[in-house]
Amino acid sequence: MIKLDEYVSAVQAVNLTPAIDTTGVEIRGGYVSDMLSDVMGSARAGDAWITIMKHLNVIAVASMTGISVIVFAKSSVPDAAVIDRATSEGICLLSSAKSSFELAGVLYRMLQA
């Protein structure tokens, strides 16, 4: 388990939902997928979800599966409506210039350490 704030600095991510207090937020695992049907079936609560999918449905899927952190790879930034919904659901959104591969690699290493 790692602290979200440590991961944010490790991948130089931008916090898209600054209204959410991240101090107590922790990451227990990770999942990488851009197909929401797959995420619904396989992601676990506490995972950070790494994706380039920006559709509003990502927030509902995260909420359904108990994901509290979504990391948008390759500097993807979703629409304001998506960010607003995430804020109201208490789901932290990050955006990083790194690829999904790099984001997952860094997260994996930190979780193993």
Binding site: M35, L36, S37, V39, H55, L56, A60
Partner: protein, 252 residues
């Protein structure tokens, strides 16, 4: 699929209305329309758009000129990737006599940068109708990509695959209960034509009428979704959008 072979087979199947929905392009609708109309079939311009979410949406237009204008916008929205013809095959644009007019160089297999809602709005702006293709398919369907049907945009109908058992599907996905489902062949080869059809009880084969039928208004209706075996024999204005030939390659 060659337009003449396609039309011949469509006629032998007693299908009366077809649409061509190539991937991300309507460049070949001109040729197919000419051959279909000459054979006395009703023809609708269509396209299968791959959105930014990699969801396939079907779009149909009553007005070929509007369709051409839309097609130009869609083309601009496609990612600038060159077609690898050794892998994906040539993307030939043909005329009604099956002469190759040109080869499309941009990879039509790729996605548009438009998301679903933008796509829907663009199609609507050009007077077309738009709905998710093959919702029950394991890839490139609105369910596979988005997990469930989003609130927006509001679709009036949904495409299903040729052989879908609708009642089991609806048991799994109750969202679709009572929704207008359009069964079509999605045929990429001649042999697949007619594998899925829908019967439209309408005044004329048009998108406008299709919408009325989807809403069940003015005594219009759509049938066929529940019995994949039934073909449109003897049914007035029965049809089957969309047949989907490969991108304009005349086949043997």
């Amino acid at each position: 699929m060659s337009p003449r072979e396609l039309v011949k087979r469509i006629r032998s199947l007693k299908i009366e209305w077809i649409a061509i929905t190539d991937h991300n392009s309507m460049a070949n609708c001109d040729a197919y329309e000419k051959v279909a109309l000459d054979a006395g079939l009703s023809f609708t311009w269509g396209v299968e758009i791959q959105t930014a979410e990699e969801v396939h949406l079907l779009a149909y237009f009553d007005d070929p000129d509007a369709a051409r204008c839309f097609d130009r916008q869609l083309y601009q929205s496609l990612l600038p990737v060159h077609n690898d013809s050794a892998f994906f095959g040539d993307q030939a644009v043909i005329d009604a006599d099956e002469n190759i007019l040109r080869f499309e160089e941009k990879a039509l297999i790729n996605s548009s940068v438009w998301d679903i809602e933008t796509c829907f709005n663009e199609v609507s702006a050009y007077g077309g109708i738009c709905y998710p293709a093959h919702v029950d398919a394991p890839a490139n369907s609105i369910l596979s990509q988005l997990g469930f049907v989003p609130e927006m945009p509001v679709f009036e109908m949904y495409g299903i695959t040729a052989g879908l058992d609708v009642s089991s599907f609806i048991d799994l996905h109750p969202y679709f209960r009572g929704k207008a489902l359009i069964r079509s062949s999605d045929a990429h080869y001649l042999d697949d034509l007619g594998s899925g059809v829908s019967h439209f009880y309408i005044d004329q084969p048009s998108c406008r009428e299709m919408l009325l039928a989807a809403r069940g208004e003015a005594e219009r209706k759509i049938e066929g979704a529940y019995d994949p075996g039934a073909l449109g024999f003897g049914v007035e204005n029965s049809g089957s959008p969309p047949a989907e030939p490969n991108f304009g390659i005349p086949t043997k």
